[in-house]
Assembly symmetry: C2
Amino acid sequence: MNKPAREHHYVENVQEQLKLVQHLLEEQILAATVTHRQELPRDERHELLDKMLHKRHLAKLREKLDELHSADIAYILESLPIEQRLMLWDLVKADRDGDILIEVSDSVRESLIASMSREELREAAEQLDTDEIADLAPDLPQNVMRDVFKSLSIEEREQLRSAMSYQEDSVGALMDFNMMHVREDVTLEVVSRYLRRFDELPDHTDQVFVVDRDDRFKGVLPINLIVVNAPETVVGKLMLTDTIRLNPDDKAEQAAQSFERYDLVSAPVVDEDGKLVGRVTVNVVLDFIRAESESDLLNQAGLREEEDIFASVWKSAQNRWSWLALNLCTAFFASRVIGEFENTIQQFVALATLMPIVAGIAGNSANQTTTIIIRSLALGQISQNNARRLMLKELAISGLNGVVWGGIAGLFAFFLYHSIPLGLVMTSAIVLNLTVGAIVGLFIPLIMQKLGRDPAIGSSVMITAITDSGGFFIFLGLATIFLIH
Amino acid sequence: MNKPAREHHYVENVQEQLKLVQHLLEEQILAATVTHRQELPRDERHELLDKMLHKRHLAKLREKLDELHSADIAYILESLPIEQRLMLWDLVKADRDGDILIEVSDSVRESLIASMSREELREAAEQLDTDEIADLAPDLPQNVMRDVFKSLSIEEREQLRSAMSYQEDSVGALMDFNMMHVREDVTLEVVSRYLRRFDELPDHTDQVFVVDRDDRFKGVLPINLIVVNAPETVVGKLMLTDTIRLNPDDKAEQAAQSFERYDLVSAPVVDEDGKLVGRVTVNVVLDFIRAESESDLLNQAGLREEEDIFASVWKSAQNRWSWLALNLCTAFFASRVIGEFENTIQQFVALATLMPIVAGIAGNSANQTTTIIIRSLALGQISQNNARRLMLKELAISGLNGVVWGGIAGLFAFFLYHSIPLGLVMTSAIVLNLTVGAIVGLFIPLIMQKLGRDPAIGSSVMITAITDSGGFFIFLGLATIFLIH
């Protein structure tokens, strides 16, 4: 009977498991004593742990870890402070190291790899499929990679070379090589017999791929069709030929959109010559979409990469610095714009209290425009045909906003300082600055896209810089002309 | 032979299809004449279209639409301006209306439904599965829903009622009812015969569910195991019992995380009594994750909902207003804080030029902190144990940032105005305001989480309000004490 040996439990609530593990760890351990012994080999660290950890707890922890799925252990490792994390990592059975390293986030992987010896790393890598080794490769020391490479078969070396040759955001980088292929002239019975030779089909095998003698892709045969059709049916009659084919050099995002639109579970990757080179599965696409969405959110706040929440202060600060430096520069520039109007402010101090309003509202409105444009660009909804139309629409919205919010702000200024001219300057400045905001909010992402850059990165700094400096300039400039005698 | 009739082509590049359709539409049509006739019944509009559209082009368009997958037509509809969109919608075969309505975004669905008669809507809804009707229900007029309900079987009515009873972000809302179930005492051969009675298995059937006489969930039988095992094997021996079970009232996000962690294709939904009530499939999870990530990005810019890029100016403005109003209020408040220091500014105008720097850098830094905290909260990585540790870390980073960037800003102030006290006030104000930023950046999301609200919504407005007003207060306050004599 071919029943897969599934040793690890699925858990509904991984947070609870985390609490349990943390409790077991904290119960007994003087954390500091271990971290300072990172230079020790694993065996000695184990001994040390053994001594410190109450035997009963140690057994419980080991048992718990054996039960848990690799993805859950990865989650728990990510959620533990660095000392506890390394301690737990030492307790994980060595034969699961590879799987878990694949699951953890980049920053946490770094901390785990740093604690492992060359030998341990080689063993971990050798447990993995070639496409997974390729994912791990950038983080592994060169000598480890050399060892791993030597241990592979010729076919696997070829796969590894190919997997490592693709760009990070390409279909090739998402691809694995666990596909089943059959010929079109055999019957379902032959296919079934062939499949039965495997104890277990690779994950996400919802279809087998039909290829010819030269490995050229002919079509797909969904497993479900094998089940619902008579065994004597010939593959060629059943196979679907009008099916999506991904190219290894396509953008990964494009593949993700295909999976979403067509509700795919797996898709063949076919090269320029029509040869089947691999497959992409939905679980990898899911991870890709999640990672993309997270990096969008992080980038918006100017975080270069995912931050290990337990990283050192120094490392975290570095992750955040380039953004703060950039913002400081634009703030200096805005400050010099205000500096040009010191005389005006001296004569009419109310201006200093009101100017942040002009800058702020336009910045917010421009960022709304940009968010919508970036989204439409990502979906490919913006063409030359409708760009003009969108511009008119955004200008109209900014005009409407200007009248409404500029009007309210003008009244605010009038009631505070009892000056009708000041109120009018306030309203006009907001209307003008909202217009500036609409234009830059629309064109900056469009231009960045044209230049082949990701419009989601950096657009908002530039836009805020322009609406800030522009707002100060417009407001103080108008005030100089109309209020100062 | 059970081969599914798949009429619609998969396309690698849907943008190209959009261009083609748009080209065909634009070639011939005076768009305005049709939009103003929305009140006409569909038949008459068809006639009108027929007259206007060159016959040859009409045929081409219809052919194109028949070929395209519903998801691709949905995409094209979303990317067309409103007149062209409604024109194309009229050309779509009525029997595909339902599928396409399910695929389009909420705002576009509204515009399509508004153009349909009660009769058309009823027909469209009746093409759908009950879980899909539930998705459509909020957008359908009440009388249409009544008609649809009447046309359903008793079992389907029960399903529809159940599907509509779950909260929008619960597992129940993601669930469908297309699951196959078998008993544990039958052989694989019986299962195969049962499955063969269907022309085609429901999408994403990677496993059949094993239930007892009372529909209580016992385990799952992966289709792959049916293929690789001998026909005489009994289901009970093969079925996997340690498998994830979702509860219909669970948060959808929790289910999504299970799919990601365990690389699932489908999962059973089991109610409190252990009864199998439905299943969730990975394609729905994929859409959910994408939608969540988009709404996160939109919310960050204060957009309440996904905006149809061709929506009217008035509608778009409304979508953006509550955010702008909120920001204007906080700006008014900050303005009054500055107003308290008018005397100080009058005596030392340089302060007006420098104060935006103090506010800005702390706002940026605080938003970085919040972004990381919100992410860690979503992953459940923050516990009482490590909250103190995180606070110390964020305070340390803000201190480091204060010394570095505050120092640079202090030098900037000194070189511009040749006043050492001014430079020192600048540096101290930035250090203090960064500390304020770190504290609010950490605690506001934590408090919102405690209150049961989504920390991703609204955190950043509050934080910016505090770092702005706080920055002005600290900087001008210190200046009043140390610079004004």
